[in-house]
């Protein structure tokens, strides 16, 4: 018991100060891309050709579908002109699928605050249910991290919950 108390002091308080302070992200983190189609040489499709998920289209302006994007940066590496650049911007959540289509010159339509009526009903108690099917377990791994002391999602009134009576925590 004394050792567990000592350890408690040594481990310290580790919850991030977010949102009061911005998170410190690794320099190599690849977040929101910025598109500059004005730099594209005519007829060049290097970025679209390099994209492993066909997230980029060139007809009618440079456009990237963030719903397909892996943030692998194959496109920006393939571009001789720097027309696509990944930034450290981590705010990427939108309210609907189409808002993930990012066209040059546009800013990403981020999810806004809840409608007043929804907010009145839910208050600060948002319960989410996550079901995985046909993925790589990467999302699950990082969603679980939100419940560690570092992120402590519960302090925002957000919780991931079980959908049914079986509460055996696997």
């Amino acid at each position: 018991m004394p050792s567990s108390i000592l350890t408690r002091f040594r481990q310290g308080k580790r919850t991030l100060p977010f949102p009061a302070a911005e998170p410190v992200l690794p320099e190599r983190f690849r977040g929101l891309p910025i598109l500059n189609g004005a730099r594209c040489p005519s007829g060049c499709t290097s970025c679209a050709d390099a994209c492993p998920t066909d997230a980029i289209t060139r007809d009618g302006g440079l456009r990237i579908d963030l719903g397909r994007c892996l943030f692998c940066a194959e496109c920006s590496n393939a571009c001789p002109e720097g027309a696509i650049r990944f930034t450290p911007e981590y705010r990427l959540a939108t309210s609907n699928r189409n808002d993930l289509l990012l066209t040059e010159g546009e800013t990403l339509r981020l999810a806004g605050r809840l409608a007043d009526e929804t907010h009145r009903i839910l208050g600060r108690s948002l319960k989410l249910r996550q079901v995985s099917a046909g993925g790589c377990n990467g999302c699950e791994a990082d969603v679980n991290v939100l419940n560690t002391v570092v992120f402590d999602l519960g302090r925002f009134g957000i919780q991931f919950v079980a959908s049914h009576a079986m509460r055996m925590d696997f």
Partner: protein, 512 residues
């Protein structure tokens, strides 16, 4: 692959089929045996010091199926590879070699080749067959199948999943219980099946490396390293010492993160919350070190054919050294609480015990096998890259229970930490990436990596044009799920979460 001129004996076939992992092998040099010889060769190999790393089918001429077996011998650091052609059926291996159990079910499901006499003949992923003109489907709807069942008035079944209460992958667990006692557990998977192996045929292409990085999301480094070593063997390109060291560092960071997370999760499952909370945080420190290297916590973008995608400079090396020492101090502090707490030890010891005999019979791998006293580790037995020069001692314990699986992880954390410390201090200079040539046509390569869950085996086979004719992935979970089922025999059902965490197997890595 043409049949070889007649072989004098099985012994000769075995002698002729001795290869190295990571060596490009001409398809012609692989002994093409009759199915009877093939069976004998496998049974003879596993009765000595070989294990069955892979047994799979691929299309052959005349709509036949070619079976290929890969048998590494940890005593000699060499591997035997055999092939045999079958049409519709053959006499199963599983009765004599339980290691073949899951593989034979997979072969039957994919290629509709019947392993006659198989003791528990069922699909493992529930998908439509791959062989054209063959439609005796086993059961295409996931989970709709017969389960092993006990009978009796006081016997009952408990069905759990496929959708679970936590934020985890889907899988179905069927327990045969008498009161709290579990007599048998059957695990039914396939819900995460994406068809990855099929998508790899015809490659490599621009998607291939990304598919490798997401075969199993928590093992991106392990699987992408196995893939790159296969490509480099077939493409004949050399990887610089600097890149090899960086791959080694990334692989051990992946192990540190996952082992630390597992020890925290084990603590959580016995309601010892301090270690659960600390390790949950410290796991992230190791992931963030990988992110400092590659921009991704899982190391995506780091391992590339010919080397690595990102370099290290002096400043980043110093930063990683400081962060490593801090995280290692913290994890030692947090984990020490487990060993000093009698209530934790009482729950870990003698729970979910697997005997050495069962472990060997099932061909379990990784920390699970080393927790049964098995001295096997790819980094020692089939070292590639930096592991040929910097050896990490094998960590083992022999009690086979939850405690042993936790303890082996802790030993490995210390040794991986020491390895990274040593490598960061002596990073060789040089380029990080070399370009890859075209792949050798009609060749096969086996690559082995000791991922944090254990033995990762990739087998790449090229066609006449140097494209993938077949690509086989064996995640360590493929070997170990049966071990979890057996570990639950004779346990209380309430011990399942603890036993399960002590294995922490992958669903997607199994389902592919």
């Amino acid at each position: 692959m043409k049949p070889r001129a007649c072989l004098v004996s099985i012994e000769m076939a075995i002698a002729l089929s001795s290869f190295h992992a990571g060596e490009a092998i001409s398809l012609q040099s692989i002994p093409n045996l009759s199915i009877a010889e093939f069976r004998t060769a496998i049974l003879s190999a596993v009765s000595s010091t070989c294990s069955l790393a892979a047994l799979f089918g691929m299309p052959a001429e005349n709509q036949n199926v070619r079976l290929i077996a890969v048998l590494p011998d940890s005593a000699t650091s060499r591997l035997s590879i055999f092939a045999a052609e079958v049409a519709e059926s053959y006499s199963c291996l599983t009765l004599e070699c339980p290691q073949a159990h899951w593989f034979e079910r997979e072969i039957a499901e994919q290629w509709q080749v019947l392993p006659e006499g198989h003791p528990w003949f069922k699909p493992i992923r529930f998908h439509a067959p791959y062989r054209p003109g063959h439609s005796w489907s086993l059961a295409p709807v996931p989970g709709v199948t017969d389960f092993f069942a006990m009978a009796g008035e006081e016997v009952h079944q408990v069905a759990v999943g496929p959708v679970h209460a936590g934020i985890i992958e889907p899988g179905h667990f069927r327990f045969q219980c008498h009161g709290e006692d579990v007599f048998h557990l059957e695990i039914s998977l396939g819900y995460q099946h994406r068809g990855v192996e099929r998508a790899l045929v015809g490659g490599p292409g621009k998607r291939t490396i990304h598919l490798m990085e997401t075969l199993c999301g928590d093992t991106s480094i392990g699987h992408s390293t196995a893939y790159c070593e296969a490509i480099e063997a077939l493409g004949g390109n050399a990887v610089s010492a600097r890149a090899q060291v960086m791959r080694g560092i990334a692989l051990e960071l992946e192990r540190l993160a996952n082992h630390t997370g597992d020890l925290g999760a084990l603590a959580g499952d016995v309601a010892y919350l301090p270690t659960a909370a600390y390790c949950g945080r410290i796991r992230g420190e190791f992931l963030n070190m990988t992110a400092a290297l590659s921009g991704s916590r899982f190391g995506r973008g780091l391992i590339r054919p010919g080397g690595v995608g990102f370099d290290l400079d002096k400043r980043l090396v110093t930063e990683l050294q400081q962060r490593l020492e801090a995280a290692l101090d913290d994890v030692e502090d947090a984990v020490a609480l487990l060993w000093g707490s009698s209530s934790v030890q009482a729950r870990f010891e003698h729970t979910g015990t697997i005997s050495r005999e069962i472990c060997d019979a099932l061909g379990l791998v990784g920390p699970v096998a080393r927790a049964c006293g098995v001295e096997r580790d790819i980094r020692q037995d089939f070292p590639r890259g930096i592991f040929r020069f910097a050896q990490i001692p094998i960590s083992k314990w022999d009690s086979g229970d939850v405690f042993a699986r936790a303890w082996v992880r802790w030993l490995e954390i210390q040794r991986s930490g020491a390895f990274i410390r040593e490598q960061l201090a002596a990073l060789p200079e040089g380029p990080i990436l070399s370009s890859s040539g075209p792949l050798l046509p009609n060749h096969l390569v086996v690559s082995f990596v000791e991922g944090w869950r254990g033995e990762i085996c990739h087998v790449a086979i090229t066609d006449a044009a140097g494209r993938f004719a077949h690509y086989k992935v064996v995640d360590p979970s493929f070997h170990n799920w049966m071990g979890l089922a057996i570990a639950m025999r004779g346990q209380q059902i309430s011990d399942f979460p603890l036993c399960n965490k002590s294995f922490n197997l992958s669903y997607c890595g199994h389902d592919l």
